[in-house]
C-alpha cells in the first residue's frame, strides 16, 4: 500500500507483477465494480480504468505487499472521483440521520429480538443480494469488503482512507441496516420473525 517508497521496475518486473499479482484479482474487482454501479458496462469501465491506473503507477506498488487491497483502493477512488460525478443517482443519503438512528441501542436490541438466524438461513440468494444492494454505497462497501472479500479492518481502513474505529462502527451500522432489510423480507415472506415476543 505504500506510495512513499518509489522504485523503478524493469519492463519484465512490471509484466510479472501485473500478470502475477494484479490480474488474478479481476473477478473480485469486477464483482466490487458491479456492486458499486449495478451496471455491467460501468463495472467493466471501472475495472479497466483501475488496471490501467495500476499499470501506470506500478512503481508505487511495493512488490509482495497486498496487491488486492491496493487495487481495491484505486477502484474505490475511481468510483468516487469519476463514476459518481457523472452518475445521475442521488449523491448522498442523510448520514447524520441514518447513523444516529442505526447506532442506537434500541436498534441493536430490536435487531436481535425479531429476526431469527433460521429465517435468514432460509432466504433466497436474490433476497440477500437485493438487501445488500439496497444499502447506501458507503454501508454496502464495508459489507462487501469484509464479508464477501474477507479484508481485515486494517486493510479496509487503508482502502477507504478512514480510521479503523470508523471501519468498525460503519460496519456495525451497515449490519443493522442490512438486518432491517432482511427483517422486511422476512415479514413479507411470512418467515418466523418472533415479532410478538416482547420481553
Amino acid at each position: 500500500m505504500s506510495e512513499v517508497q518509489r522504485r523503478k521496475y524493469s519492463q519484465e518486473e512490471k509484466n510479472n507483477i501485473f500478470d502475477g499479482e494484479f490480474m488474478p484479482h479481476i473477478d473480485s474487482m469486477y464483482n466490487f465494480g458491479y456492486r458499486l454501479t449495478f451496471d455491467e458496462d460501468d463495472a467493466k469501465d471501472l475495472v479497466q480504468d483501475t488496471y490501467l491506473k495500476a499499470y501506470r503507477f506500478i512503481n508505487s506498488f511495493e512488490q509482495g505487499t497486498n496487491a488486492k487491497a491496493w487495487l481495491f483502493r484505486i477502484l474505490k477512488n475511481s468510483f468516487i472521483n469519476e463514476y459518481r460525478k457523472k452518475s445521475k443517482q442521488p449523491a448522498k443519503v442523510d448520514y447524520q440521520e441514518v447513523e444516529t438512528y442505526y447506532n442506537s441501542d434500541d436498534v441493536d436490541y430490536q435487531s436481535t429480538t425479531d429476526l431469527r438466524a433460521e429465517s435468514v438461513k432460509g432466504m433466497l440468494g436474490d433476497e440477500i443480494s437485493n438487501a445488500l444492494n439496497s444499502l447506501a454505497v458507503d454501508f454496502r462497501t464495508v459489507i462487501i469488503l469484509c464479508d464477501l472479500e474477507g479484508f481485515t479492518y486494517e486493510e479496509m481502513a487503508k482502502i477507504l482512507d478512514i480510521p479503523i474505529g470508523t471501519v468498525r462502527s460503519r460496519l456495525h451500522r451497515a449490519r443493522n441496516l442490512l438486518k432491517d432489510k432482511l427483517r422486511g423480507y422476512a415479514h413479507h415472506m411470512g418467515y418466523d420473525t418472533d415479532e410478538e415476543e416482547e420481553i
Binding site: Y30, K44, L52, A117, I128, L171
Partner: protein
Amino acid sequence: MDMNEETSQSRKLKCDDTSKCFQLLESILDGEMDNSKEVLKEKLAKCQPCFEHFHLEQAIRDVLKTKCTKQEVPTELADCIRQKIQDIK
C-alpha cells in the same frame, strides 16, 4: 431453535450493554479479536441477547458468502485490459 430454548434458562434475558457487546461479537466473527474463544464462550453462556445476536450475525455472514454469487466476469475484459496495456507500453 430447540437447543436455544433448553439452555436459555441459565442466561440473563437482558443485555447490560447491547451496543458494546454486539460490536464485540461482530469483531470476533470478523476475526479481529485475539484470544476471543474465552470471551465468546462466557458471553454466549451468560447472555441470551448476545447468544441470539451471535448466531444471527453468523447466519448473515454465511448467506452473504454462499448466496451473494459473484458476477460473471465478461470474457473479453481481461483481453481488453491487456490490449490497452500493450498500447501504452
